[in-house]
């Protein structure tokens, strides 16, 4: 398994249902052997895109290449992809063993090879001995594993997973996340994973495409999406984020100076393709990158004065909302226990200073 080489190429792929643009001109590549997630709110087009990869939908325009071959109009049964369905779609009239062997009919295996393949698959999903169970005797997690094994025994070039963990309870979901990642490493197959759960996507994926209204907004590794979102929508969707609006005064040495109205002048690290002076921009800072202090911090940092509006105590950390004059929304601040300054229960209503280093903030165009 080599990385970098692409196994799926989407070229200006679009899917329209009537006047609705479910997928709107999407182009990107998925690398061989990677765990790739399509992340976005419901209705963003991620499932439609996955169904186009599987062959259940034909693109309105554009081309889908799998391993160099244009499969845009190839029917599902002739594609080198297999899918784990959201409801698992376990065949109710077949046993676990028959379910797993379903796709092997045409592979020309001998009876022994077939039995061995199914046993190996059962071992992979840790369900050895469950082969003769009827599907209605399985729990949700077991159905999920059987669906996974049934798809994997077909040795697909790409495994498609449509929110496979959505129907499981929280604890089981976390277990299955780990297991899914481990199975993906074991078999080395490219996984394309659809989810609306950002934590799940961040925890599992090599790379994530954040989708919204049919577009792929940003395609990056989890840490890049979190630390360097390329637009306000991604910044707001992944984790929580504070935004300060203003107009760009100048950029120099990778740092941008922004006139932020009542907040005065603020600075943030700027990408190389930052817009020209005078553009409307937002400065985005994560709550955990802000610091709170009673006293005005030293110069060279961004600093805003406000009043503590609410405090939520979580033990290992605390979340504060700080009301600032001239801002409609309070600023969210998260502090670890180790550097919590405000142990005082009566901190609500007290004036406080918020500060952050310029490199902790990201400059985003409006």
């Amino acid at each position: 398994m080599s990385t970098g080489e692409s196994i799926i190429s989407l070229r200006s792929v679009a899917k329209h249902f009537g006047s609705v643009r479910a997928v709107d001109d999407v182009s990107f590549d998925i690398r061989r052997g990677e765990f790739f997630s399509l992340l976005g709110p419901s209705g963003c087009g991620k499932t439609t895109l996955l169904r186009m990869l599987a062959g259940f939908e034909v693109p309105t325009s554009g081309a889908i290449l799998i391993d160099g071959q244009d499969v845009s109009t190839v029917p599902p049964h002739a594609r080198p992809t297999n899918m784990v369905f959201q409801n698992y779609a376990i065949f109710p009239h077949l046993s676990v063993r028959e379910n797993i062997a379903y796709g092997l009919r045409k592979k020309g295996l001998s009876k022994q090879e077939l039995a061995q393949t199914v046993e190996d698959a059962l071992a992979l999903i840790k369900m050895t001995g469950y082969g003769d169970r009827a599907s209605h005797q399985l729990s949700g997690g077991q159905r999920q594993r059987v669906a996974l094994a049934r798809a994997l025994v077909c040795k697909p070039k790409v495994l498609l997973l449509d929110e496979p963990l959505g129907a499981l309870d929280k604890k089981l979901r976390e277990e299955m996340q780990l297991e899914l990642r481990q199975i993906q490493r074991t078999v080395g197959v490219t996984f394309v994973f659809v989810t609306h759960d950002q934590e799940e996507a961040l925890a599992l994926s090599d790379r994530i495409a954040v989708m919204s209204r049919g577009k792929a907004l940003q395609i990056d590794a989890a840490n890049r999406l979190y630390e360097a979102p390329n637009c306000k929508e991604v910044a707001a969707f992944i984790g929580s984020m504070n935004f300060f609006q203003g107009s760009l005064r100048e950029t120099s040495g990778g740092t941008a100076l922004v006139d932020a109205g009542p907040l005065g002048q603020l600075s943030a690290s700027a990408a190389e393709n930052a817009p020209g002076p005078g553009s409307q921009v937002s400065i985005a800072v994560r709550p955990e990158k802000l610091r709170l202090a009673w006293d005005k911090p030293a110069a060279g940092q961004n600093a805003i004065a406000g009043r503590i509006a609410t405090e939520a105590y979580f033990g290992d950390r605390s979340h504060y909302h700080v009301a600032v004059e001239g801002l409609a929304e309070p600023i969210a601040v998260a502090m670890q226990k180790s550097d919590r300054l405000l142990d005082d229960a009566s901190s609500i209503g007290r004036p406080v200073w918020i500060s952050w280093a310029p490199e902790a903030a990201v400059l985003l165009t409006e």
Binding site: F91, P92, R105, H136, R143, A151
Partner: protein, 267 residues
């Protein structure tokens, strides 16, 4: 569960007695050693059964009825399955009116239907009356029943099962045989049995549409003109009663098994 004997229980028992007591008289009189079906019973005999199996006209009518009923049940179920699949999975233009037309034979009196079909077959197309015309008439009245049974089975059929099959490499045709058909199987069996029964005891259409080859109900009705043949008719009735009871019990067992093994227990 309370064990009290209230009015409702008594009503239930009376109802069952009225419903089945006459039917149960059939086997009783069939083994009675007399030509008239009246009490008191004269004595036990299987003479009537001997007459029955030695009557070639009766056996021919029975054979005709079985052939027609088997053919009708298979063809009607095939049509019913296709129609039910079409209706349950696609939103078709004009679906409402088409459904109404298919279901029409359920509400049109069969005597009207029979006359209309006779006019059509003889006057319009000039086709000779045979068992084929009987079967065609029976298919017409069986398809709506078949369709209703199969629609209830296919309602809520999980389309993703067929998608999963396609995804696992099977074409549409193989997907039908490996997924859709087995899952619809209990409904198909129920439909086959129902159509078989309807065809087997249908009288009016068979009377109008049959030629020289009689079906069993018509033969039986004809026999009632001869009082001395009544015991034989009773013997035949008893035989049919026993066989159909066995079939119903068997199919019910099959259906229950089907329900258990094909209904997923949620997620």
């Amino acid at each position: 569960m309370s064990k009290r004997f209230d009015l409702l229980t008594i009503y239930g028992i009376v109802f069952l007695v009225f419903l089945y007591a006459p039917v149960l008289l059939l086997p009783v009189f069939s083994v009675n050693d007399a030509t008239v079906a009246i009490f008191p019973l004269k004595g036990f005999t299987l003479k009537a059964y001997g007459q029955m199996v030695n009557n070639p006209a009766l056996l021919a009518a029975l054979k005709n009825s079985l052939v027609v009923a088997v053919g009708v049940s298979v063809v009607s179920t095939a049509f019913g399955l296709l129609a039910a699949m079409g209706v349950t999975r696609y939103k078709l233009p004009g679906q409402g009116p088409v459904m109404s037309v298919i279901m029409l034979p359920l509400v049109v009196p069969s005597i009207i239907l029979a006359v209309a079909l006779l006019v059509l077959v003889r006057q319009v197309f000039d086709i000779p009356l045979t068992l084929w015309t009987v079967a065609a008439g029976h298919i017409l009245i069986c398809v709506p029943f078949s369709m209703m049974v199969l629609m209830s089975r296919l309602e809520g059929f999980d389309r993703s099962l067929e998608e999963a099959s396609a995804d696992l490499g099977e074409s549409g045709w193989m997907t039908f045989w490996r997924v859709t058909f087995p899952i619809a199987m209990p409904g198909i069996v129920a439909s086959l049995l129902m159509c078989f029964t309807i065809s087997l005891d249908e009288y009016v259409l068979a009377f109008f549409l049959s030629g020289l080859d009689q079906t069993l109900p018509i033969f039986l009705y004809g026999q009632l003109r001869f009082p001395q043949r009544l015991p034989m008719t009773l013997a035949l009735g008893t035989t049919i009663l026993i066989v159909s009871t066995i079939i119903v019990i068997f199919s019910e067992i099959l259906r229950r098994r089907g329900v258990q093994s094909t209904k997923p227990t949620g997620l």
